[in-house]
């Protein structure tokens, strides 16, 4: 039975705890244990704090990694931003002794030491590589027949490809295979590879620009006839879920209501997990239309 240290970050525990329960429960179905990392902070967000001060960014990131090192388990997470920070910081530290020395000098002041003994594994990797579409297919009790899904990978899971090593970012297929395994239909849509607009501090600093980009994505997904959008990143999830409401506010009309689900939530639905337990009813953009189709 494999065991992971769950890095929560900010958005999952503080805005979408449903993703937390969905992920933990889903992995447990496949005999994968996740233990909470205790005392973690913001990863810190790569496009935000990485843009302000990389020296601070890497120290806080290293501190978070040491918590998992103390637990002796690889880190997993449900956010591309946290993945970008922890995987990249870990990669940098594993390849640059001077940097490790610098960072450890600071960490020593809080009684910590980065050792480079754990790896950072995105939840998508566990789903696709460790579990695999076949095993998931075998466990499906509620095939999502007729459900059209727009897959949105987000940016930091796949890029930069030389460090992430998750395949060709121009044409990924991991999520589509998982979606097909649960009986749903992944749809091709324009600008599939495009950013949701939230990253790089743009959501925080220039919300209207972020929403412009979000709107393009949702328009394209709706044009392609999607019933929902699925993503492996809670920040994209947040941007789509809350973003649609924000766009509607600015338009003064309820135009955008495409349900947004996290990958573990969607797979959870197919495997018979309770939508309530996964917090789907708490999404800002109602998921009723999706659930109706699933349970039709």
């Amino acid at each position: 039975m494999s065991r992971y240290a769950y890095f929560l970050g900010c958005l999952t525990p503080n805005r979408y705890p449903g993703i937390e329960t969905a992920t933990i429960d889903l992995l447990r179905l496949f005999d994968i244990e996740v233990d909470y990392m205790k005392g973690t902070s913001c990863c810190p967000a790569p496009g935000v704090f990485g843009s302000f001060d990389l020296n601070t960014w890497i120290v806080i990131a290293a501190r978070n990694i040491t918590i998992a090192e103390d637990m002796g388990a690889d880190i997993t997470l449900t956010c591309n931003g946290c993945y970008a920070t922890l995987q990249e910081a870990d990669h940098m530290l594993k390849h640059n002794r001077e940097l490790v020395a610098d960072v450890n000098r600071r960490l020593a002041k809080v009684g910590r030491e980065y050792k480079g003994t754990v790896n950072v594994i995105h939840i998508m990797e566990i789903l696709y590589k460790e579990i695999g579409p076949e095993k998931i297919r075998d466990m499906v009790v509620q095939p999502l027949e007729g459900v059209k899904v727009a897959c949105h990978y987000g940016c930091h899971f796949l890029k930069p490809s030389d460090i992430r090593q998750q395949g060709n970012p121009e044409n990924p297929t991991m999520m589509e295979e998982l979606i097909e395994a649960i009986g749903a239909e992944p749809v091709e849509y324009r600008d599939k590879n495009m950013c949701c607009g939230a990253g790089g501090g743009v959501r925080a600093g220039k919300i209207d620009l972020a929403l412009d980009m979000t709107r393009r994505k949702i328009d394209a997904m709706m044009e392609a006839g999607a019933d929902c959008v699925v993503t492996p990143c809670v920040f994209c999830h947040f941007q789509f879920d809350v973003g649609q409401a924000e766009i509607n506010n600015r338009l003064g009309a309820e135009k955008y209501k495409l349900p947004v689900v996290f990958i573990t939530q969607l797979i959870g639905l197919a495997l018979g997990m309770s939508p309530r337990r996964m917090g789907l009813h708490r999404n800002r953009t109602q998921v009723k239309t999706l659930l109706d189709k699933v349970f039709a």
């Binding site: 060709n168 121009e170 044409n171 091709e188 324009r190 600008d191």
Partner: protein
């Protein structure tokens, strides 16, 4: 020769001023004083320019007057004047290999320009070492091997054809080997050629016919070179002539067989845009005009044999291996085009209306799959707006860092041809730089823009999307000259895709033991001064096999390679430098360590299992000598004692 083995060495040292190149830094008089006191040195002299006639005469006179039997010249690099001074020495009656040079210019006065005292000391060291070696030198004879007056040309494209014709006209026998059923290469796939807009087939096919008719050219098509043994002047080549199942002499090229053949296969010549039959000729002007059966696709229904009036079909034919002996080889194996499936952002292979430039040539071609009508693949309609995308795969560290050289010009050509056929069509070329470097090329570029209205946008295309309903393509780029991102819709997108060495290059490289440049093309001996030679004597390069180039350059290179080959074959013999290694048969234990080390395949084993070195293939690199655990191998002119004495001299403090 004036010396015998056992005779005491009498060394003359000649120190060159090289104007101020050496004398401006080094104290030459000091060197003369120093050299004359070295062991074995009978006389030391200096002169302003030793390589000049008076300088050389000084050497010759000294040899006579002082009865010298070893000569050391302290001057520039041996790469410049070693030959010169060897000749001088030979003219004075000495074996030219009893001569040694000390490089006190490139290795001292030039690199230590601001430290004259140290430079002088170093020059003394270099002379002392050269004298030590000179004392140990032995006379060596230059061997001559005959060169057969025949040449193997590998590859029947425009480069191979040009080289073959020049050599055949000069009276040499040529074996031209081509892998596909017809010669012509990629040039046969082109419609028109820039900048003249000549019809490619019209200028190519006469040459192809000349090849087929030339009494001195033996054409082997549908054949491959499988092995080459031997060395310059005497190559033994094995050619595999694949079975065509159709007899060359009987086949009239009437084509009835293809009409009745039931098997349809994508046509490689048309890059899959059209189909061919299992029995086929690749294109109408094929040379030889013999049909060929693709045995893998043939279902052996026998219909073709039934209709063939010339009784040319023979299913019992077998592959034949032919051995020929040639004196020289020219490699003209050409290129392949990069099919950018991996560049998913362009949608090649996914979107029907994204094609490569070679596909466009076939669409433009009068004998292509559409008879010369350029159409949008998904609709069959004429295109209204076409994008040409440059640098697809080229100038890209992810794929091919080099520039493919021909694409700017051919895209201008394509755009112009489109405007000729469809004056209302819009053509846009997306480029990083417009490279119009050749004769008439810049004018061609100007004409395309001014007279034909071809539009050029400076910006490499970032991504291409397809409208799933209309199959039209949306191209995204930045118009960098304006500094604005743009999105434009096109009916048809043509990718000017990179050229890369043809897939047979690896095999030929292995067989001939050639080297590759870092870009993957075959390596020339010197990029400026020996652009068609290779480091394998007697083997020359021509055409795209050596690097991306247009037709004028390919033909020039082919003529250069032919001239190089003709020089060897015309002379009829070639001198082999005597630097080869020799195995002492008594010491050799037959352990076989050496042959694995030799990069030139020069070592074989005799009946006693002892190593023998082919003195013609051997380049004197010394690797075998270093590897031999018994110390049985020594390269001529770099024997163990010679080297050791040089090293010992290097560490000696003062003369005597």
């Amino acid at each position: 020769m004036g010396e015998k083995v056992g005779e005491e060495p009498r060394v003359g040292v000649f120190i060159c001023h090289c104007g101020t190149n050496i004398a401006g830094v080094i104290d030459v008089e000091e060197l003369v004083r120093y050299a004359s006191k070295l062991p074995g040195v009978v006389v030391a002299k200096d002169y302003r320019f030793m390589c000049s006639d008076p300088g050389q005469n000084l050497i010759k006179e000294s040899i006579r007057n002082f009865k010298l039997n070893r000569v050391v010249v302290a001057a520039c690099s041996p790469r410049l004047h070693e030959e010169t001074f060897r000749e001088t020495v030979r003219e004075a009656g000495l074996n030219p290999f009893l001569f040694e040079m000390a490089n006190i210019r490139e290795h001292s006065s030039w690199v230590h320009m601001w430290q004259p005292k140290e430079a002088t000391e170093k020059a003394k060291d270099l002379i002392r070492m050269a004298v030590a070696k000179a004392r140990d030198l032995e006379p060596l004879e230059v061997r001559k091997v005959p060169v057969k007056p025949s040449c193997l040309v590998i590859g029947g494209g425009i480069a191979g054809i040009s080289a073959a014709l020049d050599l055949a006209d000069a009276g040499f026998e040529v074996h031209l080997v081509e892998r596909t059923p017809s010669i012509g290469g990629h040039m046969a796939q082109l419609d028109k050629t820039f900048p003249t807009m000549d019809c490619s087939a019209c200028i190519l096919t006469p040459k192809m016919v000349m090849v087929s008719r030339h009494p001195n050219i033996k054409l082997h098509t549908y054949s491959e070179v499988v092995d080459v043994d031997g060395y310059v002047g005497n190559f033994k080549v094995k050619i595999l002539e694949k079975a065509k199942y159709v007899k060359d002499r009987e086949c009239t090229g009437c084509g009835l067989c293809a009409d009745v053949c039931p098997v349809h296969v994508p046509n490689e010549f048309e890059l899959g845009l059209g189909a061919r039959k299992a029995i086929y000729i690749p294109f109408p002007q094929a040379v030889p005009n013999t049909y060929v059966i693709d045995k893998e696709k043939c279902i052996e229904c026998g219909l073709c044999a039934q209709v063939c009036e010339a009784q040319a079909i023979d299913f019992n034919m077998k592959d034949k291996e032919v051995e020929v002996e040639v004196g020289t080889i020219i490699v003209a194996t050409g290129y392949d085009i990069f099919h950018p499936y991996e560049m998913q952002q362009y949608g090649y292979g996914k979107y029907e209306n994204v094609i490569t430039s070679l596909h466009m040539e076939r669409l433009l071609s009068a004998y292509g799959p559409t008879g010369g009508k350029v159409v949008v693949p998904s609709t069959g309609e004429k295109p209204k707006r076409i994008a040409f995308i440059q640098c697809v795969g080229s100038r890209d560290e992810h794929y091919f860092p080099y520039c493919s050289r021909v694409c700017c010009m051919y895209s201008l050509k394509h755009a112009r041809q489109i405007k000729e056929k469809y004056p209302d069509a819009e053509t846009y070329i997306f480029f990083i730089d417009m490279r119009a470097f050749g004769k008439g090329y810049e004018e061609f570029y100007e004409t395309a823009a001014k007279e034909y209205g071809v539009k050029c946008i400076r910006g490499k295309v970032a991504e291409i999307y397809e409208d799933p309903k209309t199959k039209k393509l949306i191209v995204r780029a930045e118009e960098t000259l304006l500094g604005d991102p743009i999105e434009m819709e096109f009916d048809l997108v043509v990718l000017a895709s990179a050229v890369k060495p043809s897939e047979t290059t690896d095999e030929i490289q292995r067989i001939l033991k050639l080297s590759k440049s870092p870009d993957g093309f075959l390596l020339e001996a010197h990029p400026k001064l020996r652009p068609v030679d290779t480091f394998a004597d007697g083997v020359f390069l021509a055409g795209m096999a050596q690097g991306p180039k247009d037709i004028p350059d390919a033909v020039s290179q082919a003529k250069g390679a032919a001239a190089g080959a003709a020089a060897l074959m015309g002379k009829g013999e070639v001198e082999i430098e005597p630097y080869y290694a020799v195995v002492n048969q008594e010491i050799c234990s037959g352990c076989k360590t050496c042959s694995g080390i030799c990069p030139y395949g020069a070592i074989s084993y005799n009946e006693e299992g002892k190593a023998e070195i082919n003195s013609v293939l051997c380049k004197g690199c010394g690797a075998c000598a270093a590897a031999c655990p018994s110390g049985a191998i020594e390269p001529n002119h770099f024997k163990f004692k010679q080297i050791l004495d040089t090293i010992i001299a290097a560490f000696q403090e003062e003369a005597m």
